[in-house]
Amino acid sequence: MRTLRLATWSLRVHVRGAAVVAILLLLLAVVSVLAMSTGSALSPGRALASLLGYGDATADLVVHGFRAPRVLLGLLVGTALGASGAIVQSLTRNPLGTPDLIGVNAGAAAGAVFMILVGGAVLPGALGCGLLAGVLVYALAFKRGVGGTRLVLVGIGVNAMLHSAIAYLLTRADLYDAQNAKMWLIGSLAGAGWDRVWPLALTLGAALPAALVLSRSLSMLELGEEVASGLGLRVERLRLALLVVAVALSGVAVSVSGPITFVALAAPQLARRLTRSPGPGVAASAATGALLLTTADLLAQRLPTAGQLPVGVLTGVLGGLYLAWLLRRAAAGSGRGWRSR
């Protein structure tokens, strides 16, 4: 931990954390360029030229029309999921406490599945139902404040109902519609266009700075409510602000790409292990989420499978294997006694 000073301003910087974020961003840039410049129908050289503004018409169409929005969408969704995951895990002090648990994802999923089955507009349906579910969970958990565990348990209850509703819809629909809905539920970036990038970019533009600013108080909140209010924090108001940010981030991300599994759970855990930082690490988690998702999507497009796999398949496998490997290594390294939060 170092302190940077400039006149009357000072900023405490976690050196290893900052280095990790820088490396992650560098990797992210490499993967993004790879994703935009490789693939069929276009040589890497032509794609790269188009990316730099010297492309021919075909290359411009492919890169700007299809590949750039897809890569950007992956980046933004990963960032949003990683950041919101870090916030909620820290708020609930539970590694299982992802934004899914507040009901946003399941609400969005139920709304989207319903819209797919009746043939309505998916994005607004998902967004509306997702936010509604988030508000419902907060309202049901509110009783002179929302304690961390009660919020998540109420969320589990509401989630269970929404998932049942989804299972009901899936078994009653005809196979074609049901499979479309299932693909959406796995989470996919296929067919991404600028119309899906913009809503998320705007949300991130507003919510990510807020998340980064609030995350400093979040590490005080991790010390416990009494200590935090003793340090002068207004706990309930802070918690509501953090929840709103997390819900907005994950709600919009899920609405544009489907509930991509495991990024929100794995990114904060991976980031915490990479930075060895005790705090919530919103920035590192956001960068990890973005890298995880863009890498998974690159693989999803390039793997020689019978059809193109939705990215949600690969985030689970990649993130799961990596987290399992980290856990195994930590257990082997320190014998017993090493313990995750």
């Binding site: 299982l96 348990l153 269970a160 299972a167 799961g320 257990a331």
Partner: protein, 318 residues
């Protein structure tokens, strides 16, 4: 006080089990049901009661008890109130095994799926344990995510597999023959005995491993046995009825508000309350959309979740 409560819960369970035999999509009057229950004949009523409703009720009892117990153990073992019995990777292991059975072996028979999903559940639990017995929650989540990825890959590439899988994944008690009850009952029985014997060990474990050790218990052995019990119970339940998630998470919570933190009581109550809830949901699912039926996996959440939220708002929860 607790004994009275347990007696009341058992009475409620008996009542619901009775209802489960008496009530169904095909309405039979209670006198007929009573008559054919003890004197089976060749008639339609007798066939409904003996071939459909009794196996279904027994299955509900087995599955419900297994889910309640495995949920209670899982929450004690991980000391995490959000842990559900599937967390050990059991549900996802079973799910992947069923997908493999359909995809590679062309199996469409529920009774064969049972063996596949038991094996899948066991393998997944072993993998989770090998990776991180010290942080089961994360190891379980990591392995579950990998397995879910594999399941989703299969489902998104093969519409035929998806079409069969979606009915299994809902979680239901209907359409299961007596044969399935006989298949899973030994596993549930073994798991139940093991679970009920573990109560004291789990109490010591909840004080922390060091305290447990100084009390003369062996926390390592308790944890392994507890994980084994969860795998047997939750694996058998999922094999028989598909993944029914919410009961196993909710029952121990609801029970703990009444019994306090003593795991011996939490286990005993969970084993009674969970099947009562599951069977009640199943009976309700048979009557609300007559003559069609709603799968109990669906109704359970819609009956259980409001009660759960009401309890959460009323009381302080551990």
């Amino acid at each position: 006080m607790r004994w009275t409560g347990l007696g009341l819960c058992l009475a409620a369970l008996a009542l619901v089990a009775g209802l489960s035999i008496a009530v169904g999509a095909q309405s039979l009057d209670p006198a007929t049901v009573w008559q054919v229950l003890w004197h089976p004949d060749a008639g339609q009523a007798s066939s409904i009661v003996h071939d459909l409703r009794i196996p279904r009720t027994l299955l509900g009892l087995c599955v419900g008890a297994a889910l309640g117990l495995s949920g209670a153990i899982m929450q004690a073992l991980t000391r995490n109130p959000l842990a559900d019995p599937g967390l050990l990777g059991v549900n996802m292991g079973a799910s992947l095994a069923v997908v493999c059975a359909i995809m590679f072996f062309g199996v469409e028979d529920l009774t064969v799926w049972v063996w596949f999903s038991m094996a899948g559940a066991l393998l997944a639990a072993v993998a989770v344990h090998l990776i991180g017995s010290d942080h089961l929650v994360l190891a379980g989540a990591a392995i579950s995510a990998c397995l879910l990825g594999a399941v989703n890959a299969a489902l998104s590439l093969d519409a035929g597999v998806f079409d069969q899988w979606r009915y299994w994944d809902v979680g239901a008690l209907n359409g299961r023959s007596m044969e399935i009850v006989v298949q899973v009952a030994p596993f549930v029985a073994a798991g139940t005995l093991l679970a009920l014997a573990l109560g004291g060990g789990l109490n010591a474990l909840s004080l922390g491993e060091d305290v447990g050790r100084s009390l003369g218990l062996r926390p390592g052995r308790t944890k392994i046995l507890a994980a084994l019990a969860v795998t047997l119970l939750c694996g058998a339940a999922t094999a028989a009825a598909g993944p029914i998630g919410f009961v196993g998470l909710m029952a121990p919570h609801a029970v703990r508000a009444f019994t306090g933190a003593d795991h011996r009581w939490v286990l005993a109550f969970s084993a009674v309350v969970a099947p009562a809830l599951l069977l009640a949901a199943d009976v309700l699912g048979r009557v609300i959309v007559r003559p069609a039926e709603l799968e109990s996996g669906i109704v359970t959440a819609f009956v259980g979740a409001p009660i759960f939220i009401y309890l959460l708002r009323r009381r302080r929860f551990a």
